[in-house]
Symmetry: C2
Amino acid sequence: MIVATLDGVLHPSDQPLLRPDDVGVLRGDGVFETTLVVDGVPRDLEEHLARLAVSATMIDLQLPADDEWRRGIDAVLQAWTPLPDRQMVLRLIATRGPEHADVPTCYVTGGPLPEATCAQRDGVRIRVLPRGFAGREIVVMPWLLPGAKTLSYAINMAAIRHAKSLGDQDVVFVGTDGTVLEGPTATVVLAVGDTLTTPPRDGILDGITVRRLFAAAEKAGWTTRRAEFETERLLSAGGAYLLSSARILAPIVSVDGTARPIGPRTAELAALLELPGAPNGR
Amino acid sequence: MIVATLDGVLHPSDQPLLRPDDVGVLRGDGVFETTLVVDGVPRDLEEHLARLAVSATMIDLQLPADDEWRRGIDAVLQAWTPLPDRQMVLRLIATRGPEHADVPTCYVTGGPLPEATCAQRDGVRIRVLPRGFAGREIVVMPWLLPGAKTLSYAINMAAIRHAKSLGDQDVVFVGTDGTVLEGPTATVVLAVGDTLTTPPRDGILDGITVRRLFAAAEKAGWTTRRAEFETERLLSAGGAYLLSSARILAPIVSVDGTARPIGPRTAELAALLELPGAPNGR
């Protein structure tokens, strides 16, 4: 893994970088972004920097300017030796810094896209799990940080572990009102005929990949909408997908152990998203 | 701040200790405990080690044995120069460690009890905030980590910041069913006559200080119970308190801006909890 601070200095990834009293560790108090680097270019970087700033505002964290982030990002990109069959996952991390110091800890990392992540572009088995809240209810409660991408991902990770313990690979969270919310690290999209549907942004992360898909799909003649739907639709829709910045597009092929087909227009959607070539010519 | 790893080695607190790819930072993926050291002795250490183990089990994290923790704790205790008017806050921290390494990062810190925390023993102004879920509902959903003390405390910290922005000092979370849950870092207790009441353990942290209070209070003739109650009781009960390991007992003196008296038997409860002497003879 390549690591750079915002002064452009590289740091060995196996050497300590964070103080023991950093509240990023002690409290999961910070924000982050993840994106994919293809042919040396981070995808949707403007959007990720913008969302990082939104998340930071939600937790009252003053971030360095975008130019400073770009210095760190450039250092990572320059240190990365691109392999023809390996994409890089770029991460931007900002914590509130050492306790009571009021100086954020900011750094950028780059590492190879894990094989298991990449393989989900061929299909992902998901487990539907209740999230314990309703998106519409928490969206008006800023202290619950609805839609902020914070470092406090313990529940997201626990949910994925739970799904794996049941033989699945990922999760779709459902709200107490019965409507689909999001995955722990992904946005859910359905394709029915020439219509793409994703849940409203209430209480969930505002996905960058789905925004990109919707913009491209509209130009290509698709209808796109943000509307609530229930979990049954994950099986009955022509196509069902997890979208995220690293996987980009993962067709759901199993819901709670019930197989479902890959949507007939999956290749079109992958093309709209400019899904990069997979390792080993997959 | 004093910092020790479990091998008993001390580390300068202003020097990095955690790798940039530690999932304690990247994902808030880890567990912790906090307790107070009085006269060189950590309060309720057995209970804190036991709860650390419970939290770790909930996130599938294999922890070092208690003896190893004690080596780190002893190193911190020995390095601490006790001042007559300053208590120490001891923290045990365990993250899942560097990504994909499967070796937890464990350390112990000790630092002075902040004045502001200590001052809450004289009274704390709280704001009631919805938590977005019902304790009874999430308690059966292990992937939501109900009652685990994880490093993912961003929402807890955001809620306290929100209360402070309204002129208050701390928060009492209320569930979607209208019943009181807990504070972001505290347990809520009511005193009415000779009865102490705290919410059921469903979906909230199993507080160690309230257990200690209930055990001592029962011996002293009080009745104790775990029962649901609504937020109105925070004002109408004879005494209302936040209990936590560092503050120990903080009488609630204001709820959403409405003043309420300190309970008439607060001194008795403080004595039952062996509340240590405050700085400067307060």
